[in-house]
Amino acid sequence: MLGIVRRKVCAKGLPVTVPGETLRFFRPVVHALRNYSSAAKELTVREALNSALDEEMSADPKVFLMGEEVGEYQGAYKISKGLLDKYGPDRVLDTPITEAGFTGIGVGAAYYGLKPVVEFMTFNFSMQAIDHIINSAAKSNYMSAGQINVPIVFRGPNGAAAGVGAQHSQCYAAWYASCPGLKVLSPYSSEDARGLLKAAIRDPDPVVFLENELLYGESFPVSAEALDSSFCLPIGKAKIEREGKDVTITAFSKMVGHALKAADILAKDGISAEVINLRSIRPLDRATINASVRKTNRLVTVEEGFPQHGVGAEICTSVVEESFGYLDAPVERIAGADVPMPYAANLERMAVPQVEDIVRAAKRACYRSVPLAAAA
């Protein structure tokens, strides 16, 4: 049976190493769970998010969803499908087109005790509301000395989609993650999506939840306890998607998929890559990253966003501060091109990291005898 599972898993393009027969004999626990054990069910990320929202709204009457098209239209990307019918217009609010307005209103509702989930059609539009996210939500607990806490979640697709141009493709992980008072999460798989969204909604602090449009339709196997309504993943813990010993590759969101593919390719060349799915950008799981680098001695950070002041820059500094002596090679940073996202398909492809870029970077980190210019 395990053999069948393994084949199914690989057929979806997920190079997961299922650790043998042991899985059949113990009940997987969330934290010990490294891989998709006893995976009987597949869930798309969309279904995972929908079920997480449904369960949290059902469990707590203070939770409500607001955003453009979330109600009648079932969600711009159908994430909130069926929720209006189930919970009514009091708890699933279709808003006028004013991000600044509805974000401010969500924050005000959170000030007064409700638990809003504010959806941005994409995080690009959150720039119109960023004053409320930072000045009214992130800083409030501190500025009011604990008198006003803001249990709000801002969620929506982040980063590049396909062919949507510069104003719809920016990655905001670095921007939000630099702000104290916010928590920033970015799921990859369906299990991540479910567990992290539930954790975000239950968290008393404001959380920015960065999804990815291209991942919505992707299916991942989910374990039985991930399907349980009390399932929750811890905020601030990264997941080691694939163990390795030669080089550490960190990534989040869509890039985790790319990193896993790159790890497969590298394995054929005898390089065993450890892939870390960050899950949480703020707080960053520095402990896991550093422990991994201390094991492998080499690091490649991967992100989709702009390189300057990006997530990779922060990870690099953390490793230099804490594990400098363990590094055998300079840290390699893979990021999107330092240009506004072009539209033409060929240009777009060149502006976003591809699997080959990660492979080359890992090889550079491992060999260092190949000059950078020649390897580019």
Binding site: P96, Y111, Y112, N141, M143, G146, Q147, G181, G236, P283
Partner: protein, 465 residues
Amino acid sequence: MAMSWNSRRVIGAVKRVTPQWKSIVARKQGDLLPTLRLFPFPFIGDGSDGVFPRRFQSTEAEKMLELSADRSLEFPGGKVTFVSSMNFLAEASAERVHCYRTLDESGQPLMSSKFLEVSEEVAVRMYTAMVTLSQMDSIFYEAQRQGRISFYVTSIGEEAINIASAAALTDDDLIVPQYREPGVLLWRGFSLQEFANQCFSNKADYGKGRQMPVHYGSNKLNYFTVASTIASQLPHAVGAAYSLKMDKRDACVVTYFGDGGSSEGDFHAALNFAAVMDAPVIFICRNNGWAISTPTSDQFRSDGVVVRGQAYGVRSIRVDGNDALAVYSAVQSAREMAISEQRPILIEALTYRAGHHTTSDDSTKYRPADEIQLWRTSGDPVTRFRKWIECNGWWNNAAENELRSNTRQQILNAIQVAEKVEKPPVADLFTDVYDVPPPNLQEQERLLRETILRHPADYPENVPF
């Protein structure tokens, strides 16, 4: 109606007709001609200008009879009556929206004034609070000038708005202020000592020294902490009102903002949303004529802020903000409407910012000093209210002197005490960023403490460990 019409070859005319654009208000049938002038109809008529307009008029009359039976169109949003004459709504009505007031400048009730009754007890309490607020402002302003606090914002000239609006509400109503409404907090019971503690950002400050002076807040008194961002509190108020609505409480939210704040995008979104969501929120605009140095003539071209209410479907009223009784009546009525009908209300209180914008401003640089002086004396709302209560036999000179000297003493005392209280401890630098302090901050605090112990000379002495 022979005119330059003849000189304009309408048929096939490429040249644009540019008439004088006066505001075109309702015109009668016979005036159709000038309207036509603006609109080249290249496909009608035979090019003979004199005959053309009249021919069109006659066929027009026929069409009018046919369609009179069905004079409305259904568009998304509901039925609309159509008209065949093109009328632009004027950018301003002939008369400005009237302003509700009950007392004249010398505190005498106007002949026909209608206002809610105020008992002696409430009136005297209101007056006392107005005097306290005004004195607190002067003394704290002076303290800033002396360098004892770094910054202060006075509410001089707006005491009536502050106190009267507060008096008209209940303690359950949630206040979401801008920054010129400390009087509301004062009315609800915030002590002079508590005000001083916040301004001196000492250990007893409820804000733990995190914010600039005048950023007061009190959960207990239902007063949201002041934030520096302009008008961001307006959508917050609507969100909070939505929350109240879902709780079905007998309470509303009251939020304040200035003439300048009404230009922010948040104002638009908040009013719009409040109307759409049927939120029980009262928007009180303190139109005091100035947004730092920007006079209202540079701030907007509408007739103040009150006319905007209708644009969003919000019931509104304009009130004399220096007339405490008028403000009291208007706010109390608004509260009843907001709660019983679950709707937002907009109140524009006209007043004058008799002080500077803040202690960082010198308003004599952009407005005449005698204008300021005039408003401080003959326009003063505190004096006006005093005359009314004296007229009713509820107040006299002796009471006045006693109040002023007592309050002054209390304020000076509060300042002296606040100045001596310790500053917040080092631990307060790191708490409340999140619900639970994260490990990186715990580590930073530990490192900071170690560094302070190792290099005490590099750190100020008055920071408690």
